[in-house]
């Protein structure tokens, strides 16, 4: 019982101090955040296909996490967790495990989903950097 109380106190203390720390830290970019967003978007090659460029879009969760340096206050964090959990869809056919051989292929390389004009790494166990 004593241990439980001690644990509880330690946890509350951690939350309290991290909440304070979050208040103290300003959002990244400070007063230049808007300028920075504009500059970032203007920095990409004009010949990037449109669908590549959609990868720069941010949803509310991404925007909020940026604001709090990936460490939002618990209340906001819980909201985001619920919001995102609600978007999870199970496979319609009810099969939860797919083709594991295909999965293994994906796991063996680190380059899935890479885009860009510079030649991506060849697939294989050393394709990481």
């Amino acid at each position: 019982m004593k241990l439980k109380i001690a644990l509880f106190c330690a946890l509350t203390a951690t939350f309290a101090t991290s909440a304070l720390a979050q208040k103290a830290a300003e959002a990244p970019g400070g007063k230049y955040a808007k300028d920075a967003e504009q500059m970032f978007r203007a920095s990409f090659r004009a010949d990037n296909p449109k669908y590549w460029m959609t990868r720069l879009e941010q949803d509310e969760t991404m925007k909020t996490c940026l604001q709090y340096r990936d460490n939002p206050p618990r209340k906001i964090g819980e909201k985001l967790e619920k919001l995102n959990a609600a978007t999870i869809r199970y496979p319609v056919d009810g099969k939860l495990i797919g083709d594991w051989k295909e999965g293994e292929k994906l796991a063996a390389v680190g380059t899935g989903g890479h885009i860009g004009f510079i030649q991506p790494d060849p697939a294989g166990p050393r394709a990481w950097r």
Partner: protein, 243 residues
């Protein structure tokens, strides 16, 4: 395992192929080239014309003549255009090397970098334009997007993270940023080439599954300013060598 990696790195450091590139960069620097048949010896990398000792370690910085914060690569390209008369396209066509295609920029940056070896990184970003660039770099560092929900900070914003066996530095601290920044430009054994910081960061964006930035883009220079500011005070060990 980390010890084994350290041993591997130590073994690599004995005879760095980047040394050859440094020598090539040195002769490129002094050679009269381009439509104006001029060398780069009057190039001002921030400490005055031709003054290269410690220049790399104090970049990016604000330059009055261009009214821009420039990194080593954008400043070098500027010099090759203004002093030697090359067009930007000519200079940046081979900004990184490919098998069978060497890059003058890689050689020159390796040479300029080596002139800061043993010196402290010194980017306090006190000029308002530099301070702004560092802040914008910070914004980009934490900005999340893409199919994997990545930002720089996802991998480099905490202590004790790794990808497979590779330790990931916490680039928000002096120690982490210093460890990362002090060894560039660096010879990449797995790539068989020297990588500049622009190449490194543009590749980070590739790994984040984002589209490809322009070479010398302001967003890359902003990230460099942010990282060099965090790393300020760390002693340079360049050219580096990595797996």
């Amino acid at each position: 395992m980390a010890d084994e990696l350290a041993k591997y790195r130590e073994a690599l450091a004995d005879g760095n192929p980047a040394d050859l590139l440094e020598v090539k960069g040195e002769s490129l620097w002094a050679e009269k080239r381009g439509p104006k048949n001029a060398s780069l010896e009057q190039c001002d990398m921030g400490l005055g014309p031709g003054k290269l000792e410690g220049a790399y370690a104090s970049l990016p910085k604000y330059f009055k003549d261009t009214n821009k914060v420039m990194d080593v690569e954008s400043r070098l390209v500027h010099c090759m255009m203004t002093l030697q008369g090359f067009t930007q396209e000519e200079v940046t066509k081979n900004w990184y090397s490919k098998p069978g295609k060497e890059s003058d920029i890689e050689a020159l940056v390796t040479f300029i970098g080596a002139k800061s070896n043993g010196m402290k990184i010194n980017v306090p970003a006190t000029h308002p334009e530099e301070a702004k660039m560092a802040k914008m770099g910070e914004y980009i560092f934490y900005r999340r997007s893409g199919p994997q929900d990545f930002s720089c900070s996802i991998c480099h914003g905490q202590e004790g993270k790794r990808i497979r066996l590779q330790d990931l530095g916490n680039l928000t601290t002096k120690e982490g940023a210093g460890f990362a920044m002090k060894t560039w430009p660096s010879y990449r054994v797995s790539q068989g080439a020297v990588w500049t910081m622009q190449r490194r960061l543009i590749d980070c964006m590739r790994q984040a599954r984002w589209p490809e930035p322009n070479y010398l883009a302001d967003s890359i220079i902003a990230l460099e300013t942010y990282l060099q500011k965090n790393a300020t005070g760390t002693v340079m060990e360049t050219p580096g060598i990595k797996r």
